[in-house]
Amino acid sequence: MKPAPFSFVAPETLDEVVEALAAHGEDARILAGGQSLVPLMNLRLARPEVLVSINRCGELDYIRLSDDRLVVGALVRQIDAETSPLVQAECPLLAKGLRHVGLPATRNRGTVCGSLAHCDPLAELPAVALALEADLVLTSAAGERRVEAHDFFVADMTTCIEPGEIVSAVAFERQDPSERSALLEVSNGGSVFPVGGVALRWASAGGTCTLARIAAFGVGSVAQRLVDAEDALVGTDLGPTAIAAAVAAARNAVNPTGDMHADADYRRHLVGVLIERGLLEGEGP
């Protein structure tokens, strides 16, 4: 099918973008890479009256360090973040997660912030944002507010973005060089969409686990941080007993639903398997 008619504006600065959003309110949608929005428009599941393209806003195309954060602007394409030496050095978990997003051709165009704003329950990046304790920068004509990832993702395709706001940047916590991290997922027959997966970060000092961050996707209506599983690891030797406790806590915390790809029990089991595999086998692909 073809999209319903709409108006198109392509401002060149963030100020002009938020002006356009303020003028059009709920009728407007932001077009960044469009790799999630345009399929919905082609199927007429989305019918925005106005598209505000940010593709001319060069000022939103940046990756930079700011104190303990790695900040990614709204126009950074997934492929450019994935291959950025700065991302690979400061937030290797983000680079690992990006490798699983969509397909090479959609990563060439899709943006990091766009995937977060879209909030697909099967998307990798919301889980990465939770594990990296990211802040989302929401900008509107009224100014700017920062929202923690934990509060940003609300439910399936639902975030706390208000009409008139744009995710102008996302600020991820920088990983310590001693940290390890992994992103593991399972999909059916090489499908783009995974059945479920986990994003992991952990660190040890003198044989004791000092940090654990675990987030899962595909096992609920929205990506989920698994704090009980993290608590089961910190202070331990990361041995089999600790891992078993974390696996049990994770399975207890998730509330998956079944569909044609996998039933709920499978997904609950899967989240534990992937956490164990990640912790035992390390870095992962």
């Binding site: 709409f6 108006s7 077009l31 090479p104 060439n108």
Partner: protein
């Protein structure tokens, strides 16, 4: 503002200026406004890859872009690869290795292969298969396509000019 907009897009090296409705998909702009029907439309939702073109040198789904949104960009389509009687080495290897049956998906596979071999002249099979994730073929089972890409890489490394 749903009125037509003027866009200037470089397509296969030529500057093309057109007036398009905002909802005009890039693939329809190429096929209907410019008459470049080598780019095929399959699923229209980004899954199949038949409509793959190079957008500023990188593969992109032309069904997932609006022509107005790529104003000022550089597009390459399958028509840019070869003349009627002189195939691009990648096309020649697809021919020799039987990497197509019905051929509907082939234009997309060719452009994915161009992108891969421009950035990775000597890809291993894993790299080839990862790049080919871009595209779906319902006929071949992919084995011959992987062979064709492997052989095309050899030809291009030998210095065969596209």
């Amino acid at each position: 503002m749903t009125d037509e907009c003027e866009v200037t897009i470089t397509v296969n090296g030529r500057n093309r200026r057109s007036r398009v409705e905002p909802r005009r998909l890039l693939v329809d702009y190429l096929r209907h406004d410019l008459g470049l029907t080598g780019t095929h439309i399959g699923c229209e939702q980004g899954v199949c890859g038949a409509c793959t073109v190079l957008l500023d040198g990188r593969t992109a789904r032309s069904c997932l872009h609006f022509a107005v949104a790529v104003d000022g960009s550089d597009i390459r389509t399958v028509e840019d690869l070869a003349s009627l009687d002189d195939l691009h080495p990648i096309q020649e290897m697809f021919h020799q290795k039987h990497a197509l049956q019905c051929g509907f998906c082939t234009p997309g596979f060719l452009l994915t292969t161009v992108e891969l071999l421009e950035s990775t002249p000597d890809p291993d099979e894993a790299a080839i298969r990862e790049a080919l994730m871009n595209n779906v073929c319902r006929c071949t089972g992919y084995a011959n396509i992987v062979d064709a890409v492997t052989e095309a890489a050899v030809e291009l490394r030998r210095g065969r000019q596209p």
